[in-house]
Amino acid sequence: MKNKKTNTFFKIFTVLLTSLFFITACGNDKEDSTDSDGSNDSGQTELTFWNGFTASDGEILQEIVDEFNQTNDKGINIKMEVMTWANFNERLPTSITAGSGPDFVLMNNVDFAQYVNNGAVKPLDDFWNYEGVDQDNFEETALELGEIDGTQYFIPMQVQGMFTYWNKDLYESAGLDPEKAPETWEEVIENAVKIADPSTNTHGFTINHDGNAILYNWIIQNGGQILNEDETESAFASDETLEVLEKIQEAIHENKSGPEYISGAELDNLLMSGQIAMHINGPWLNNGLIANEINYGVTTVPQVNPDTPYAVLDGVGFGIPSSTDDNKTEAIYEFISYWNTTEIGKKWSIENGFPTYLKSVKEDSEIQDNEIVSELTKQLDFAEPLYPGNIDMPTINADIIEPMLENLLTGGDPEELMNQADQEINDIVK
């Protein structure tokens, strides 16, 4: 009897195992058609390319990729896959580990550090030796964005900072000079309080609760810091930081210069619908504002002292996952070098309303005549990357600074919040 039972189980087990084998066999059906030199039989090199350009800039990027696919003489064909940055950052690590990642990616400099730290991306120092690449044509600060411990891990694709957009119509109806760009924080707040009018649902200025970049600009301009010099300890708690926090609370929470609790994306909508007079965000709003026919101006992020300007520089760059076959490197370099030609750099800046980090583009007459691009590019003279390569910054931003900002804007005690954030930063970096 016992024997018969074992036998039954054995038979069931066999069937299970066979089916499992069958399923795995199906999974292996995909044939790898590439040869050892990275190209397939017809001499084509297929490259997969992931990025998070989901907005109108993604369409321009796709256009450039299509053009490259048609015109390059090395038989390179790039297949681009666009997803949201959040989705990108959750898919990429596992896909690199599993060896099924894309051949190359675009990534922002803050998220990038974590990948370098985990050995998930390749060093790209030899890109500078690739034919036709001129390292001297790149602005030094742009290169610093992708440099960690002296090694270049990502090649700039675009640079961005924080800029002030102001609605000229709202300025005018509040009796302010619409052509005078707000230069200082004092000026921004003063104007904002004048313009804000609850009876017409018009706002002056606010900081979004996920606007840590705005906060960092202001704090550092004011002489404060987030981390100490060797990034081993928090330097957040200081009189300079406190002064900034108090001013923010006074303007937004007490004087109601704008909504207290709003995300950056929602704030973008307010600007696009002409309901807020001033808004600080990256250069990517230009196209939408033009499309929405908003009468606006754009200038660099407000300053504490315009004579000694400072701005935090961010950027997006090309990176190659460690799972990518070495023999594809050359084809990827071909595209990166194509991207960094004057012609493409110019197209991207003009069509997209972005500053440029290429000296040859900056000197181009068409760029210099373009009001928006030349204004945005000025910031590169004084902008600097913030703690490049620091792996803790994304966590500090999302888990400490943003919740603190949220509390501050809705009336929490600035000093208490600052000290708490200081302690939490220490818990992470120490």
Partner: protein
């Protein structure tokens, strides 16, 4: 050899053995997509693995000890329970009452049922985006009408006290069609004679509802309670879309927190797995208790 093949064929041809073959596809799917990941998650929860799977160490119970000191994790659990307590009863009560009111197969009732079922078909992402837009205090339609009427504009999803009840209401709106359909089938299978007898005795509609309908569909209510509880404890999409856990973590659910630990920097997959294991145990306990209660009720009724 041939003999062996023959005997194997005979063996699987017996009904009680063949049953295993019919079950096989489902068992395999359960095994590959549920059991294996579950075991994997438990295994990972004892390590400090990150999403890149580099420098993984065995850390014993450290992740679980960390959970008990993690205020945000506890807060997320409390929020999840709050959501469940708001959503589950509301959805079941609404589902059963509408089913009772719409039980007769008239043309109007059929149309109404379809209308109520419509939100079920769309995805939570879409529903979330629509409601977030309609209720946006600055550009939304509802605040616009309130503004035109001279009424104060609530902050809706941006108000820490309103956000969670709103997310629960959105979920009820989107999902009660399911409860409606399931309880409708149960209610329609109640013999008419029971109602006729009650009517002869002069029972009101309310009495019919509480003394005939409800007792007759206890097993269905139990089923709805269990599936809803499990779903509510895993709430994610609608929160991710409408509030992304804010304001001030007031709507951060357990799954939201697990997601933010494991799938964004610093990618602490080990800790996220430990949190999932804790959530699994809690859901298992709640489900068991609910099952026992329904089982007892059913026994009482029969």
């Amino acid at each position: 050899m041939k003999n062996k093949v023959n005997s194997l064929g005979k063996f699987w041809n017996k009904p009680n053995h063949a049953a295993y073959l019919f079950m096989l596809p489902s068992i395999l799917i359960l095994l590959i997509f549920i059991v294996l990941p579950l075991v994997g998650t438990f295994a990972l929860s004892f390590t400090d693995v990150n999403l890149f799977f580099t420098n993984t160490k065995f850390v014993g119970l450290e992740n679980f000890l960390r959970f008990f000191q993690d205020e945000r994790a506890i807060n997320a659990l409390i929020n999840t329970l709050q959501f469940t307590l708001l959503e589950t009863p509301a959805q079941i009560i609404l589902g059963i009452t509408t089913a009772f009111l719409l039980k007769r197969n008239t043309r109007f009732n059929r149309l109404t049922r379809s209308v109520y079922y419509m939100p079920v078909v769309i995805s939570f992402t879409v529903a979330g985006i629509i409601w977030a837009m309609i209720l946006d205090p600055n550009i939304g339609a509802v605040p616009y009408f309130l503004f035109k009427l001279g009424l104060p504009i609530p902050q809706f999803f941006r108000d820490p006290n309103m956000a969670m009840p709103l997310v629960a209401a959105l979920t009820v709106w989107k999902n009660f069609g399911v409860s409606l359909t399931i309880s409708l089938t149960a209610i329609q299978s109640i013999p008419d004679s029971l109602y006729e007898a009650a009517e002869i005795d002069g029972a009101t509609k309310a009495q019919e509802f509480f003394h005939i309908t409800i007792p007759q569909i206890i097993p269905t209510i139990g089923f709805l309670a269990i599936t809803n509880l499990i779903g509510s404890m895993q709430v994610f999409d609608q929160i991710y879309i409408t509030t992304s856990g804010g304001p001030q973590y007031a709507t951060e659910s357990a799954v939201m927190y697990i997601y933010s630990r494991g799938f964004s920097s610093p990618y602490e997959l080990g800790y996220a797995s430990a949190l999932s294991a804790v959530l699994f145990v809690i859901i298992a306990i709640i489900t068991t208790i609910t099952t026992i209660i329904t089982f007892r009720q059913e026994k009482k009724m029969s």
